[in-house]
Amino acid sequence: MTSEPYTPVIVGFLCNWCSYRAADLAGTARLTYAPTMRPIRVMCTARVEPQFVIKALREGADGVLIAGCHPGECHYVEGNIKALRRYTLLKQMLRQFGIEEERVQIVWAAASESKVLADAVDQMTLTLQALGPLRWRQTVLNGHGAEQAVRESADVRRAALAAQEVEGER
């Protein structure tokens, strides 16, 4: 992790109906893209808890990509809108953590849009290369001290709750 050319690690949460299929199609169509994304299938982007994203970053990922159906096309009507709302709040929290916003991205890729998905991975890989490794430990823990981190993980919880309340109003 010094001056070696650095290959970022991205955790990709792909919704079962659009983006996982877009990824499948990217393979079937033999689109070449960076082998940096490690996929996790979820039924819908709405299933992606903010805690999953934090977990991935804390466990060593340099970035997280959430990919789902286009607004209006979610298999479950508007799960992706719920995901988008959570994501917006999550970004605020990341800022408080001292984590660059670009490390977590959301993209809409329909089942036919293999290219959109592949490009998103490539693009994000470049972005992360420019940012450098995340190094959660130094950035978040050592930056503020462990005590602070504990307090902030309470913040995570509170912000998550806030996100849910906004949703609950609808």
Binding site: G60, A61, Y76, R86, Q164, E167, G168
Partner: protein, 667 residues
């Protein structure tokens, strides 16, 4: 957890995976990972030998979980779940790592592909140890079927299902069923008269005891899922009481309101304000069009009411809303015609004697506005020469890149019909390629060639009335490059027919959205698989048939309709369908009664028990999206097979090589 015994199987998929991923290395490595009892690699895991290997290991090695690293779960998850089941292991004690579509096919970098494969395997292993046995959920199938669109596709599917003894609701937007086929005269390549083969089937639909025909109706809303959909239909006011009307047609005859028929006669003929689109319309009841009705516009007239012998005219009729319960749905909404005005250089709408293909179909039709006479726009003069321009709007980057598949053949049909009716008239077909690939199509092409039609190969640049040379005065001049002789040609003709292509319905995206399915870039509904599942969609219980899936002629349309019908019949005859039990469940002991989840559920599947102050998921209505699971502040909701523990463990697994050990305190 440590007593779990996981078997890992890494597939070569011939060379599809093995070429890019060092599968042996992955298997050897996997054998040393936590929980793993046995790890193997094999040429084709999905083969019967591969499956037997898994079954044997489950039994002999006492495996409690299985991971297969191979292709997409959308391809073979069910296959291996079956193998687990056969060996006595619950099908959900299985996880697939997609190292083909999501890995080996997307890179040439062997080292990182192998590393990524290891991560995916490790993720799957960490996840699978947290899997719980689940039972499939039986869902009863409502035996009623909804068919949307009453063209030849919808008609065929409706009759097939109704004849099998099941009830069908056929919803058609126009006053009559029949679709585009009712407009055409003869059908290529056999030249059967369309009406002669279509009308008997239309009548069968109208009279079938198992078919409820809802014409002049639109879909408003669709809820539910396979086996149990609730559909709201708006039956537009006809202003004619169907229970009283005998279809005698006296009202039509006496109606003084006359208007251009833009729909069925594509603007070539007129109809009354109270009308049936065509004489053989099914159902036989006319419709009053309020736009052209003198009473609706000026408050006076009611001539129809006066003459109706059964007092069936009802000016006070209102739109009616119906709620239908159905188990399956077939979409057969067909296509729209390409608008010839989009290409101004061909002169449609500006030069009187430029016609569209559908106008010509109506013109040659004996029941059409000219009684089958081929005449110029003046209504009397037969043309001495006709130019037919193929591929208008199709195979053209500026409009539709795809081939409309029917234009070549109907253009040949037109050439033949002109020769038949006007033997002295010259016919010129301007084409890019002749696409005559159907059964007996090529033979038909040869027949037209022998009849003396001139074929000019090349795209037409323009149609103009500006004469430049002797013999061009008063004519339409077709300017085209003849690519066979490599020369520009100007052919003066009396009549031009534009063989306009077909395109998806203008509202196909909205319709698709009602059903939670997708359209391709051209607006046609997306099939589940272009080769193997052409009539299935990504939405279970929703099928597609005919030209709404892509351009096609009548034979393919009918074949697809039959296929969709048999899919539906097979589901109905099973009676119940086994659904994946990926559903949410609320632990009442943990639920705080905050009700945040209640409004989040898009299916209204969560009820609140005010007495106990807890929410509950109605399993039959839950679709398993997980929105409520992620939102519950008390972590009281579990999403079966996508629990937080399972996903968290998978995250740890896929990041096995980059994990930093974090002090316990911060965890």
């Amino acid at each position: 957890m440590s007593e779990e015994r996981v078997g890992v199987y890494v597939c070569h998929c011939g060379t599809n995976i093995a070429k890019t991923v060092d599968v042996q290395d992955v298997a050897t490595w996997a054998a040393g990972q936590p929980h793993v009892t046995v790890a193997r690699d094999y040429k084709f895991m999905c083969s019967s030998l591969g499956q037997e290997m898994v079954e044997q290991d489950i039994q002999e090695q006492g495996l409690t979980r299985v991971v297969v690293a191979a292709c997409s779960p959308h391809m073979h998850e069910k296959t291996f779940q079956g193998a687990c089941e056969r060996a006595g292991l619950n099908r959900f004690m299985f996880e697939m790592a997609n190292i083909r579509e999501l890995n080996s096919w997307t890179t040439k970098d062997r080292e990182s592909a192998t590393q990524k494969a290891k991560s995916m395997v490790r993720g799957a292993v960490e996840r699978v140890v947290h899997h719980r046995p689940l039972d499939m959920l039986p869902v009863p199938i409502n035996p009623n079927t909804l068919i949307v669109g009453g063209g030849i596709a919808g008609i065929t599917a409706a009759l097939d299902i109704a004849n099998a003894g099941y009830h069908v609701y056929l919803v058609e937007r126009e006053p009559s069923i029949g679709g585009h086929m009712a407009q055409v005269d003869k059908t290529f390549p056999t030249l059967d008269c369309a009406a002669c083969i279509l009308t008997p089937r239309m009548v069968d639909v109208g009279q079938h005891p198992n078919i409820t025909l809802l014409s002049y109706s639109e879909l408003e809303q669709v809820d539910g899922h396979v086996g149990n959909f609730t559909v709201r239909v708006r039956k537009k006011a006809r202003f004619v009481n169907e229970a009283l009307c005998t279809g005698c047609g006296d009202c039509i005859e006496k109606c003084p309101g006359k208007t251009l028929d833009e729909v069925f006669e594509v603007g070539l003929g007129y109809r009354k304000a109270v009308y049936k689109p065509f004489p053989q319309a099914v159902p036989k009841y006319p419709v009053i069009d309020t736009e052209s009705c003198i009473f609706f516009q000026r408050g006076k007239c009611k001539a129809c009411e006066l003459v109706c012998p059964t007092h069936a005219i009802d000016f006070t009729q209102k739109d009616e809303y119906l709620q239908l319960q159905v188990g399956n749905i077939i979409l057969a909404t067909g296509y729209d015609l390409f608008d010839a005005r989009t290409i101004p250089q061909y002169g449609y709408g500006r030069l009187a004697n430029v016609f569209t293909s559908m106008e010509f179909e109506r013109m040659v039709n004996a029941a059409g506005p000219t009684d089958g006479q081929i005449v110029l726009r003046d209504g009397v003069t037969p043309p001495k020469s006709v130019g037919i321009i193929h591929c208008v709007g199709s195979r053209d980057k500026h409009y539709h890149e795809y081939c409309s598949r029917v234009c070549c053949m109907y253009s040949l049909k037109f050439a033949h019909l002109i020769h038949e009716r006007l033997p002295d008239t010259e016919v010129y077909n301007f084409y890019i390629d002749i696409r005559a690939s159907g059964k007996r199509y090529e033979e038909f092409y040869h027949r037209v060639l022998e009849e003396g039609t001139h074929f000019i190969r090349g795209r037409v640049a323009e149609v103009t009335d500006a004469a430049r040379m002797p013999g061009e005065e008063g004519k339409l001049i077709i300017q085209a490059e003849d690519t066979l002789i490599g020369k520009q040609r100007r052919i003066p003709v009396d009549m031009v027919i534009l063989s306009t292509g077909v395109q998806s319905r203008h509202d196909s995206h909205e319709v698709a959205q009602l059903f939670g399915m997708g359209c391709d870039f051209n607006g046609y509904f997306i099939e589940r698989h272009p080769k193997l599942d052409p009539v299935l969609t990504m939405s279970d219980g929703v099928f597609i048939a005919g030209a709404c899936q892509g351009p096609m002629a009548i034979p393919e349309t009918v074949a697809q309709a039959g296929s969709a019908a048999s899919q539906v019949i097979s589901l109905i005859s099973q009676g119940t369908l086994m659904m994946e039990p990926i559903r949410a469940r609320i632990n009442p002991d943990k639920c705080s009664g905050c009700r945040i989840c209640n409004n989040l559920c898009p299916y209204h599947a969560i009820t609140f028990h005010a007495d106990r102050k807890v929410s509950e998921v109605i399993t039959a209505m839950c679709q398993g999206c997980g929105a409520c699971v992620s939102a519950c502040p008390s972590s009281a909701i579990t999403g079966a097979h996508f629990t937080a523990q399972q996903v968290m463990s998978q995250i740890e697994g896929i990041l096995w090589d980059v994990r930093e050990t974090i002090p316990l305190m911060a965890r």
